[in-house]
């Protein structure tokens, strides 16, 4: 017997010993970061960067496959007991010796996860991790000239690149409201001093928003540069237009942050994505009834919110709990009780 087959048998036997749980349920008690466990990480330190941004040092579990500079990672953090998932750019270089990785988080107003990470996260906390992903990355072949165009926390994936790979000719244009809002400012200035980077800071509180036409004056040879841009949609839209108009769109790489605001309304268009049906619903009819009316096969039970027999994945949009008025927004893995939830704006139920 091969050793894998043998190991398979041994594992089967172990499963019999631990039934109805799995061996991993017990192993997680002692070694949550081991190889073969669900991918997790442990927060080892939190370093403040600016008044509202901090770098989180994470030791990923053994299953971590490593990242490419510029990529992001989705992390699951328990905030007030509820597991919430968000994506953050990795800011550590890929060759960091101690195996740790970092993300740098800016607290956004009302941001549950970002505020928790910046202000309340403590070393020792376990978080859930996905493998890193994203194609906002550097190419295999080194470009001769590079431009990084960033604003606000859009600097984070670019910092991952800057720390990871040295280029001969790098220019960065970075926008932030005031000097003290520039994340990684000391490090950037140190790079400038070492002549590894040419930096233009645009302080939007005093200078106003960056007019993309000013690039000609700030970086005269911008059109020849391989450019990575990350920041708010306005900046990226302007950049895409600018690069296209000058006939060099292939030099521009952009990364957009997911828009996070879901405006909860009253009723809306409900999509049952597994069945492919779309119907209009008001803000008072339970989604269970809406679905059944539309001929969708909906699981159900008590129809009064007590049995949890009707839970269904909420893929997009928001729903309102008809008993408490509480709004639930779609996130991967979020299940809702359709018998006591109504559409709060357009939403997508996977049924």
């Amino acid at each position: 017997m091969t050793s894998t087959a043998l190991r398979g048998r041994a594992w089967k036997l172990l499963e019999m010993v631990t039934t109805p749980l799995l061996p991993s349920d017990y192993l997680d008690l002692v070694s949550p970061l081991r190889a073969g466990a669900d991918l997790r990480g442990r927060i080892e330190a939190v370093h403040p960067e600016t008044g509202d941004a901090a770098t989180i040092v994470i030791r990923p579990g053994r299953g971590w496959r490593g990242h490419t500079a510029g990529q992001y990672v989705r992390i699951g953090v328990d905030v007030d007991g509820v597991r919430l998932w968000r994506a953050y750019s990795l800011t550590s270089p890929t060759n960091r010796q101690d195996g740790r990785v970092t993300i740098t988080v800016k607290a956004i107003p009302d941001g549950k996860v970002s505020n928790h990470l910046v202000r309340r996260a403590t070393p020792g906390t376990l978080i859930q991790l996905d493998q890193p992903t994203g194609d906002f990355v550097l190419p295999q072949a080194k470009p001769a000239k590079v431009l990084y165009l960033t604003a606000g926390s859009g600097i984070t994936p670019v910092m991952g690149m800057l720390r990871d790979t040295e280029f001969d000719d790098v220019v960065m244009v970075h926008c932030a409201p005031q000097p003290q809002d520039v994340i990684f400012r000391n490090e950037l200035h140190a790079l400038v001093e070492d002549k590894k980077l040419r930096l233009t800071e645009v302080h939007t509180d005093t200078d106003g928003m960056l007019d993309i036409a000013r690039l000609d004056e700030l970086v005269p040879d911008w059109a020849e540069r391989e450019t990575w841009a990350c920041g708010p949609a306005g900046l990226l839209d302007a950049a895409e237009k600018h690069w296209s108009e000058h006939g060099v769109p292939e030099h521009l790489h952009t990364e957009r942050f997911r828009p996070t605001v879901v405006v909860a309304g009253d009723g809306g268009e409900v999509t049952f994505s597994a069945t492919g049906k779309t119907v209009d619903a008001d803000g008072a009819t339970p989604l269970l009834d809406v679905g059944e009316e539309a001929g969708v096969l909906m699981p159900s039970g008590c129809r009064m919110g007590i049995c949890f027999g009707c839970t269904s994945p909420l893929k997009a949009g928001a729903v309102r709990d008809l008993r408490t008025g509480e709004i639930t927004e779609a996130e991967p893995g979020v299940l809702i009780q359709t018998c006591v939830s109504a559409a709060a704006g357009p939403c997508d139920i996977e049924r």
Partner: protein, 372 residues
């Protein structure tokens, strides 16, 4: 259905007001659910797992009598924790709000021969919706007992104390059979129903796994302690079964608990539904440890009002619920475990005999209430 309706003094208006007050209690807990609650259930789960590991470890040496005693006691407690405070409550969706896929009603499996999805259907859906409605709620006497004067007496009921005792000893199997609705499905035609067969198969699979683990694998692992480990696991299962049977009997059987007729729930309002839960359930009073070991089903009344609130919050909810009972002049049936168990058993015996004579009964008011 009792001779005197203990809710007769309430107007429809009052019942709806009561419903609103109960909703407010629920909302308050939901709004304050958070980190502490999450930490609680995680702690309980990890404690249960550690206790089970250690107990099974100790049983490897169970040929040595003190080890047998300690290991058996530990394993019994671990099994009770698994079924009561952890399994029952997670399967109610009490912890779904944490969005932790590992502690979730859709994924949890418990140390019990009834697969959790089947139990969820018969318990969460039928029992909790139709609490104490004769003919709808099979928990009432589990289909094998007469539990109310108004049910017709048959000579077969003479044996019900015995059935009830046997059911207590093999309670998990009783539940599995009950979840399968075995009695009704054993008829020739129903037996062939593919849906029933699939469910029966699932139960078979679960039983095989559970039996293999408890009565073959672990004893074998114990080597020279084979027989003593076998006896220990058997004992632990027996203790767990009798314990959970007792706790559950106390939930709806003690004297003073009302049962309802099918037609009484036609067009029931939210307030009326709440009221039925209040009148159809009974509590067990006692220490914190007592509440913990019953999985907080000692707060059966609160649990039936709010089956999806985290169990660790029932104690604080109970204070408010009890105040509402007093305000609306309703009887809050509660008492210490021995008293409630005795009361429930007494009823089982009494109703195994035909009714003596039509009698008008005044519910005995709970002593604590009088003293208070």
């Amino acid at each position: 259905m009792t001779a005197i309706d203990p809710t007769a003094h309430l107007t429809a208006e009052q019942i709806e007001e009561l419903g609103r007050e109960l909703d407010a209690i629920r909302d308050e807990v939901i709004a304050s659910r958070g980190e502490k609650d999450a930490a609680y259930i995680r702690k309980v789960i990890s404690a249960q797992r550690k206790l089970e590991l250690v107990s099974r470890g100790v049983l490897l040496f169970s040929f040595f009598p003190p080890a047998w005693l300690i290991g058996t006691a530990g394993l019994s407690v671990a099994k009770i924790m698994d079924n009561m405070e952890i399994g029952h409550n997670i399967l109610h969706g009490q912890w779904d709000w944490m969005r932790d896929p590992k502690i979730h009603s859709t994924t949890w499996e418990w140390d019990h021969v009834s697969p959790s999805d089947q139990w969820k259907h018969s318990h969460n859906e039928l029992h909790h919706k139709y609490t104490n409605v004769i003919g709808k709620d099979n928990d009432l006497g589990y289909g094998i007992m007469r539990v109310d004067e108004d049910q017709r007496w048959h000579p077969i009921h003479l044996g019900q104390p015995l059935w009830n005792f046997i059911n207590a000893c093999f309670f998990e199997y009783g539940i599995a059979a009950y979840d399968l609705e075995l009695g009704k499905n054993l008829h020739k035609r129903r037996r062939k129903n593919p849906e029933f067969r699939a469910r029966a198969k699932a139960v078979g699979r679960k039983i095989r796994k559970q039996v293999l683990k408890d009565y073959v694998i672990h004893p074998l692992l114990s080597g020279p302690s084979f027989l003593t480990t076998l006896a220990a696991t058997f004992t632990a299962n027996l203790v767990r079964n009798i314990w959970s049977h007792s706790v559950i009997m106390c939930g709806h059987f003690p004297e003073g608990v009302q049962v309802f007729e099918r037609r009484s729930i036609k067009g029931e309002t939210r307030g009326q539904w709440y009221l039925r839960q209040m009148m159809g359930s009974a509590n067990i009073s006692g220490s914190k440890a007592m509440h913990f070991m019953t999985g907080n089903l000692s707060h059966q009344i609160e649990h039936h009002l709010f089956p999806d609130l985290p169990s660790n919050r029932y104690a604080e909810v109970a204070v408010k619920v009890r105040a509402l009972f007093e305000k609306y002049e309703l009887e809050y049936v509660t008492g210490p475990l021995p008293k409630q168990v005795f009361s429930a058993w007494h009823k089982v015996f009494r109703l195994s005999l035909p009714n003596k004579k039509p009698k008008v009964k005044t519910p005995d008011r709970e002593q604590e209430l009088v003293a208070a």
